[in-house]
Subunit: 246 residues, 2 copies
């Protein structure tokens, strides 16, 4: 009987060319599909909730695949975790309604971006945060963030080469918290994300934190819909896909 | 003029044979001494607050060294961080009173041990916690911990091959906290530690958490002064030297 399997996946994206399968390149989707094929002997197409770019991490990526098999979800999970590299872990594996689609059914996604803001780089966990030496103005950054909450056209924060029917997205929550004194954690939940959207927002927020621009300038950039006015794209290694809600 | 330099050091111990200098083996002390020699052209002996074992990490190891030099602490810090591998970072470098001795003057040290307690191993930060699959009894572990607070003879938790004048130590604080649902963080501050003491305490606490022994059994093991009764030595990669107080 054909079953629909739902996976919740944690991965360290450091050594991968992103989520999406590519010929001759190591990707998360590619590794998981390869392992499923080893177990089932069948070629399977895995559907992710969305792509993550090269170097981006995930605590709760969601994907599904169809398979005509008697193998139980528990056995699948153990088998996949046994076969795959240690930087990809299947946290959950369940059979779900045959209509469940990891991408189309996603209601919101939450991303986190970690900034290490102190005078020296990290020795521990150094591949999981963007190191910024200059002291950032947290209050100014928090004021700027308020402007992105709600439904907005995020064209100014969209990466090049990503054709979309609309560049409007609804941001349900966004905030910045200080953690263990030296880390700044930016968290954002939205009904969808444009390519590089989080990293472009963070890059522009950084300009606010460095007092190169004001929170009001940040708002003007958002309203301008002009990518050229926004800041640099923050590096991928500070970014985490936290969870996907259905 | 001979100056006394004090360093605060963060390191990821994953790829080192511990703190202490060894011939033909990569150690933290060895790397720092080598970098100091490159900068000054002089052979320097670095004094650490104490050794950490192979694979153990530090957020705040402290060390000092004497050097007759005109180089400022700021230039030393930048030079060392530029010369050393990225998993060792000099967080602070200052000149201090010539009598300051990183080991003899240490009043207390604080260690942290991280346990990941969930059904699957970590993909992210996997080299920084001990993965325990079976659900641990937090309350029982916390009850056991109360027995080590105060001055006790920790002979039952001492590793072999470590001659000491006394095996009594004063534990000022010890506690266990849950973090992000799946992590257990054991923290302990004491006026000194025997070899493997934290890791042997954690290994025995694990037996309490797994309900193999009771908190009362834990107390009996402590009072027995018999290493054979205590649990296994927890692996080094979950252990962090947090700070040293003077």
């Amino acid at each position: 009987m054909r079953k629909n399997f739902k996976l919740i996946i944690e991965y360290d994206g450091s050594s991968y060319h992103g989520w999406q399968r590519q010929k001759n390149r190591k990707t998360i989707q590619g590794e998981i599909e390869k392992a499923i094929m080893t177990i089932t002997g069948k070629k399977i197409a895995l559907t992710g909730s969305g792509r993550t770019d090269a170097g981006v991490h995930a605590f709760g990526q969601v994907a599904n695949f169809y398979c005509d098999t008697e193998i139980s979800p528990e056995v699948f999970q153990r088998g996949l975790n046994g076969l795959m590299p240690k930087d990809i872990i299947i946290k959950e594996c369940n059979t779900v309604d045959e209509k469940f689609h990891a991408r189309y059914d996603a209601k919101t996604k939450t991303y986190r971006y970690r900034i290490l803001n102190r005078t020296t780089p990290a020795a521990i966990c150094r591949q999981y945060a963007w190191f910024i030496k200059k002291k950032l103005d947290l209050d100014a950054m928090q004021s700027a963030i308020l402007h992105i909450i709600g439904t907005n056209d995020f064209k100014a924060f969209e990466g090049a080469g990503s054709p979309r029917s609309s560049t409007k997205r609804r941001v349900i929550n966004a905030g910045l918290q200080q953690k263990e004194k030296e880390y700044l954690i930016f968290e954002i939940e939205a009904d969808g994300f444009l390519r590089f959207m989080v990293r472009n927002i963070v890059g522009t927020l950084l300009d606010v934190g460095l007092c190169k621009i004001t929170p009001d300038d940040f708002k003007k950039i958002l309203l301008s819909k002009d990518r050229n006015l926004a800041g640099a794209t923050a590096p991928p290694h500070g970014l985490f896909l936290m969870n996907v809600k259905y």
